[in-house]
């Protein structure tokens, strides 16, 4: 899945997400405002914000795994999204932080913001199961 850097998954591409930067080794994903991500007029749909958080979280876990030399696959177990501010009709960014990477699971926090990273519009808290490709 090292392809994630160069090729984001179809869902991310459909919403025009791109890797725009890197923070502490984790890719920052950007998503422009468009009708396809709009909820009520002029605001982002919570599901599209969640999608941006998801792509940032997955990218962060893959990056953390690669840094450890692991080629394991991941499987999402759950997610909690806190919506803190309305997403306005502008560019939105998200980055994931792997708060713990164990042998069987990873805890990730993803943050989405617009103009100011210190004023997140949403935070996602995810658990991923780590599934080794080859056992032992």
């Amino acid at each position: 899945m090292s392809a994630l850097y160069t090729t984001l998954p179809p869902y991310a591409r459909a919403l025009d997400m791109t890797v725009v930067d890197e923070i502490d080794g984790a890719p920052v994903i950007g998503m422009p405002f468009a009708n396809r991500v709009q909820g009520r007029p002029g605001f982002l749909h919570g599901g599209a914000i969640s999608g941006l958080l998801e792509i940032a979280a997955i990218a962060a876990v893959h990056q953390a795994l690669r840094a450890k030399g692991s080629d394991a696959n991941i499987k999402q177990v759950n997610v909690t999204v806190d919506f803190m501010r309305g997403g306005l009709s502008q560019m939105t960014f998200a980055v994931g932080e792997v708060t713990r990477l164990g042998r069987t699971m990873a805890n990730v926090e993803a943050r989405a913001w617009q103009e100011d990273r210190d004023k997140p519009i949403a935070m996602g808290y995810m658990h991923y199961l780590i599934k080794a490709k080859r056992e032992g």
């Binding site: 998954p9 179809p10 869902y11 991310a12 591409r13 459909a14 009708n35 396809r36 991500v37 709009q38 909820g39 009520r40 007029p41 002029g42 605001f43 982002l44 749909h45 919570g46 599901g47 599209a48 969640s50 999608g51 958080l53 998801e54 792509i55 997955i58 499987k75 999402q76 177990v77 759950n78 997610v79 909690t80 999204v81 806190d82 919506f83 501010r85 309305g86 306005l88």
Partner: protein
């Protein structure tokens, strides 16, 4: 918390009842819900069921064809949100405060996803919701959801 004019307010005037099928005809064609082509399936006194067809451009893992988890979030967000208005039998402006999804299993490639949102408790400010997603058999859910919505306007003193 931001609140703006909402699209569906005009479709569901205060005191005029709330028809999730009619509202989804509008909501399901615009914006992100339109992108996902969300379809109305049914509703009851405190629940609404919507569905999204599997599509290649909604996939998060091209190797397996598994849908992006956020597709399920969008589905559950809309279904639970509408379940509050259905229970109230009127529209009131609100914003999703939080939403948790547990993925019991992946949604198989090619299969339609149904999401049932249920409003199980309502106060003057908060709507408490839960729900589940499935592929056609509600007895075999693929995800469970729970969350809260906060009223963003229209409070009467």
């Amino acid at each position: 918390m931001t609140s703006g004019t909402t699209d569906i307010g005009t479709l569901a005037p205060k005191g005029g009842g709330f028809d999730p099928e009619l509202v989804n005809k509008f909501m399901g064609k615009h914006g992100h819900s339109g992108f996902l082509a969300m379809e109305y399936i049914g509703h009851g006194e405190n629940w609404v069921e919507l569905a999204i067809d599997w599509r290649e451009d909604l996939v998060a893992d091209p190797e397996t064809g598994i849908l992006a988890s956020a597709v399920i979030i969008s589905l559950m967000d809309n279904a639970t949100s509408m379940s509050i208005w259905t229970k109230l039998n009127e529209f009131r402006p609100q914003a999703t405060m939080d939403l948790r999804i547990d993925y019991l299993r992946p949604s198989p490639s090619g299969q339609r996803v149904y999401g049932r949102g249920i409003c199980y408790h309502l106060t003057n400010s908060i709507g408490f919701v839960r729900g589940y997603a499935h592929n056609g058999n509600p007895d075999q859910p693929l995800a469970h959801a729970s969350g809260t919505f906060i009223r963003t306007g229209g409070q009467t003193a």
